[in-house]
């Protein structure tokens, strides 16, 4: 006998792969479109079931945009009260619609807001959810969604199933799956659902764009192809200026180790490692970073690692593609000069 708090369900009643389409003002966030691409792939493996999106208080042109990116159907939750985002109210409204249409799989982008919504929706539907999946597969025998996520500090890859409950839910961070191409010839169905929500218990008072005091006006570490990061070995905050210059020349951004953040040379938002960000750049340049295991965990998925360190035995050097033994104060300025020269030539 399964848990009595799980309302009995008939798994065959649940069909289709659905995606939450998060809005940022009057546009769709990319992560929802990326998930539509993945949803199409899963839907095909499930025998060509429907792909749908759920949009809260958005216009039809946004629904059409989702259709151009792979949705067969978009349900717009129509409630003027929900124009303004608040977590509990959004989660309840989304759960209500998902409950009505019974998809087999429901995916959510693990943005900050998505993470805030996902588990509440799952709980409301008395189903399971797996956070931050990096791969999603279908078990052809059971139709179960295999929810694959790195866990325990990135040392393990877990495969999670939700064998007894539907929908099967997973969250996925932005950038994990490619955004499908936009095809404006695609057509689909747009359904407007009026959803009433219980009395509001959360009210938005104000929004302010934060002017982060940052080391540089550069993109975040998790979305850059090239990351140049500094550690305690830089010795001073001045060292970061060189890294910023180098990062700009490589069209990348700057990151930092925990030690550099603790020293106040870079904000926490740029920290890479177990207690900071996990990154997947094409190139990672570690300058004056010794490479504590917690740091290495954050960069294991970098395609190429160049480490610059005077100590040839530092752990980062053993974990680099190119271990440059030397003093960054001599090497980086010369490298910057050379890159500038190359730029001027072209």
């Amino acid at each position: 006998m399964p848990c009595r708090l799980w309302p009995p369900i008939n798994k065959e009643d649940y069909r289709g792969v659905w995606v939450y389409l998060e809005r940022e003002g009057e546009r769709l966030k990319d992560v929802g479109l990326e998930l539509l691409g993945k949803a199409r792939d899963l839907a095909q493996k499930l025998g060509g079931v429907e792909v749908a999106g759920v949009l809260v208080a958005g216009g039809e042109e946004l629904a059409r945009e989702a259709i151009y990116h792979g949705a067969d159907k978009v349900v717009i939750i129509d409630n003027p009260d929900l124009k303004i985002y608040t977590p509990a109210e959004y989660a309840e409204a989304i759960a209500r619609v998902v409950q009505k249409y019974r998809p087999e799989i429901f995916l959510i982008g693990a943005t900050k807001r998505g993470r805030e919504l996902a588990a509440y929706i799952a709980n409301t539907l008395a189903t399971g959810i797996t956070a931050d999946c990096t791969a999603l597969e279908i078990d052809p025998k059971t139709r179960d969604l295999l929810q694959i996520r790195p866990t325990f500090g990135g040392t393990q890859l877990a495969t999670i199933r939700t064998p007894q409950r539907r929908p099967q839910m997973a969250s996925v961070r932005p950038g994990v799956f490619p955004k499908p191409p936009r095809d404006p010839s695609r057509t689909g169905e747009i359904i407007v659902e009026k959803v009433e929500v219980a009395k509001r218990r959360t009210r938005l008072v104000s929004i302010e764009k934060r002017l982060e005091k940052d080391v540089a006006d550069l993109p975040p570490v998790e979305s850059s192809d090239v990351v140049v990061a500094g550690g305690r070995g830089l010795g001073t905050a001045e060292g970061f200026k060189l890294l910023i210059e180098l990062a700009k020349l490589l069209n990348g951004t700057v990151g930092a180790s925990l030690m550099a953040v603790r020293a106040g040379w870079a904000p926490h938002t740029r920290q890479i490692g177990q207690t900071g960000k996990t990154i997947r750049p094409k190139l990672y340049i570690a300058v004056g970073i010794s490479g504590a295991i917690q740091h290495l965990m954050g960069i294991t998925e970098a395609k190429m690692i160049i480490a610059i360190n005077p100590d040839p035995h530092a752990p980062i050097m053993e974990n680099a593609d190119y271990a440059v033994v030397g003093d960054y104060k001599q090497i980086i300025p010369l490298l910057i000069e050379e890159l500038k020269r190359l730029k001027n030539q072209s």
């Binding site: 900050k112 959360t202 008072v205 934060r210």
Partner: protein, 264 residues
């Protein structure tokens, strides 16, 4: 203000991680556990509210008995008392089944709570599910990523930061409510040794005998998700080419590498 802080006695280091080969779940029994680093932000946040508005701060944790020292440290930080929900029947729980136990423990032992405070996520599992799931079990509103709060009657005015959008938002939330505290936003106060020494007497341990939850709805059996497999994560092997010499030569090689790898 009666504030419950959800804290996890977590495995602090990846080197200490052990996995149950049968269930694929994290083994916490017999492993040294410490309070999840981001939950210390949550505790500090709650203590600050108590400093300002008075009341009581109660730490709540679901863990094996090896989770007791973590709670002792929180008592040392200034938490008034702690509740440890501990029972073999809770083992192997996913976040649904964990939040179930936490919410039912709150309803039974702190029914007059005003606020539940959670850390943003845990360092060993990093799901960020528990706050929202506990709110759902309790049927109360919630807001994540909070770094500041003010009490106005039965309303909590919270400031929160959404890092990916780079914006601060202010919300009014009706209490009782659940909030999660933005990681890294607080500087946790120190543990007072004198208080920690007598900490054990402020810790109440409750098992499922007292909670009376259906064994089918807790622990591994009560978890909608199931770990079907666990494999060590593998990553591309590194080339491990060592480059040394005079700086100008090193830079020449670096530029060659950047060109051949398509970065330039």
């Amino acid at each position: 203000m009666k504030i419950v802080v959800l804290t996890k006695a977590a495995v602090p280091l990846s080197s200490a991680i052990k996995i149950d080969p049968k269930t694929g779940t994290l083994v916490r029994e017999g492993v040294p556990l410490t309070t999840n680093v981001w939950d210390r932000d949550a505790v500090e946040f709650a203590l600050k509210l108590k400093d300002r508005y008075g009341g009581e701060v109660i730490a709540l944790s679901m863990a094996p008995p090896s989770g007791i020292p973590a709670l002792e440290s929180l008592i040392g930080m200034g938490v008034d008392r702690a509740i440890l929900a501990s029972d073999r029947a809770f083992a192997g729980a996913d976040t649904w089944a964990t939040a179930h136990v936490l919410a039912k423990t709150i309803e039974k032992y702190v029914p007059d709570y005003d606020l539940v405070v959670a850390g943003e996520e845990t360092i060993d599992s990093t799901t960020a599910h528990i706050g929202a799931q506990t709110a759902s079990w309790l049927g109360v509103p919630y807001v994540y990523y909070v770094y500041d709060a003010e009490v106005k009657g039965r309303t909590l005015v919270v400031r929160r930061f959404l890092e990916d959008e780079g914006i601060d938002e202010v919300y009014e939330v009706d209490m009782p409510a659940v909030i999660s505290v933005l990681k890294g936003s607080q500087i946790p106060r120190e543990v007072k040794l004198s208080r920690k020494l007598n900490a054990r007497e402020y810790i109440q341990i409750v098992s499922n005998k007292e909670l009376g939850l259906d064994p089918e709805c807790i622990g591994l059996r009560g978890s909608p998700t199931l770990v079907a497999g666990m494999a060590p994560a593998t990553y591309p092997p590194r080339k491990k080419v060592v480059i040394q010499g005079v700086p100008s030569e090193v830079v020449k090689k670096l530029v060659e590498i950047l060109k051949s790898e398509g970065v330039l």
